[in-house]
């Protein structure tokens, strides 16, 4: 499996995402100004502060040339993983429902949180079982998930009771598109892949993706 990790001006987790993806496949960086996905099998939109978070988180990044290709790739069924700022970008781009708002506590939160797997049928969670608990760090100021008006959302991960770090509605930590091929989450699975830094639960996301049959 070949992963492409988008690099915007202001991204800061693209190298960690590339290293995490490299554990289960090949991973290359995709420059925001290029309309070229280099034939990858999966796209990762990483964390950071794309375009300085100017105007509104993710608002400018969604218009980057590479995002036109990512949207087309997603509409054709290709797997797209948005982490933190990447989740915000995918919501702004209309690939995922809802929006991310400033944390209820207004503070930057950086700590491990416990998550509960709700939907293990997506390409990003198929290495999990519903009800599994995972420990993965969050680090964000704008992570309060707001449901769309119809409330029609495919919730994949929720913060475990007492672990909601930002006031997200329904304790939602991760959602997928109806078809399941677009996935966004505020926690950082790419920071939880090596025992050196604590939990390795984040590997499950990458291992799940590596199980997707090529061309699916």
């Amino acid at each position: 499996m070949k992963f492409g990790v988008v690099r915007f001006p202001g991204s800061c987790d693209e190298v960690d995402a590339q290293l995490a993806a490299s554990r289960v496949g090949e991973a290359v960086l995709l420059w925001h100004g290029d309309r070229d996905l280099q034939g990858v099998d999966a796209v990762i939109v990483p964390g950071g502060f794309s375009y300085g978070d100017y105007l509104r988180v993710g608002a400018i990044a969604r218009f980057a040339p590479v995002m036109e290709e990512v949207v087309e790739f997603a509409r054709a069924g290709g797997p797209v993983l948005g982490i933190c700022n990447g989740f915000q970008v995918l919501c702004e781009a209309g690939l995922l429902p809802g929006a991310l708002l400033p944390n209820a506590g207004l503070r930057f939160v950086c700590r491990d949180v416990d998550l509960v797997v709700e939907d293990a049928a997506t390409p990003f969670t198929r290495a999990c079982t519903p009800g599994d608990r995972m420990t993965i760090p969050v680090k964000h100021t704008t992570g309060r998930y707001h449901l769309p008006p119809d409330g029609d959302v495919r919730v994949v991960l929720r913060y475990a009771p007492g672990h909601n770090p930002n006031g997200s509605e329904g304790d939602v930590a991760a959602v997928a598109s109806a078809a399941g091929n677009v996935f966004g989450l505020m926690p950082h699975p790419e920071h939880a892949v090596d025992p050196l830094t604590g939990s390795t639960d984040g590997l499950k996301v990458f291992e799940s993706l590596a199980r997707v049959p090529a061309g699916a």
Partner: protein, 72 residues
């Protein structure tokens, strides 16, 4: 033409910035302050003000979480 766009959090959505300001004012002796909301002001010169609404829908605001008001 000079235009202003006011963007504010949609009613009913928790606005922690507004709440923080609302709590800070009485601490400074300003009593009787309620319903504080913090948004942003965008000022711009436009040739065609008819495009402002589309600009708001597409970029300047996120209609899911924000209301906008165009002043020309």
């Amino acid at each position: 033409m000079r235009a202003r766009v006011l963007v504010r959090p949609k009613a009913g959505i928790l606005d922690p910035q507004g709440r923080a300001v609302e709590r800070a004012l009485p601490a400074l002796g300003f009593d009787g302050v309620q319903n504080v909301h913090v948004g942003r002001l965008i000022e711009l010169d436009v040739d065609d003000p008819n495009q402002l609404e589309a600009m708001c829908e597409k970029l300047l605001a996120n209609p899911l979480i924000e209301d906008y008001e165009i002043q020309t």
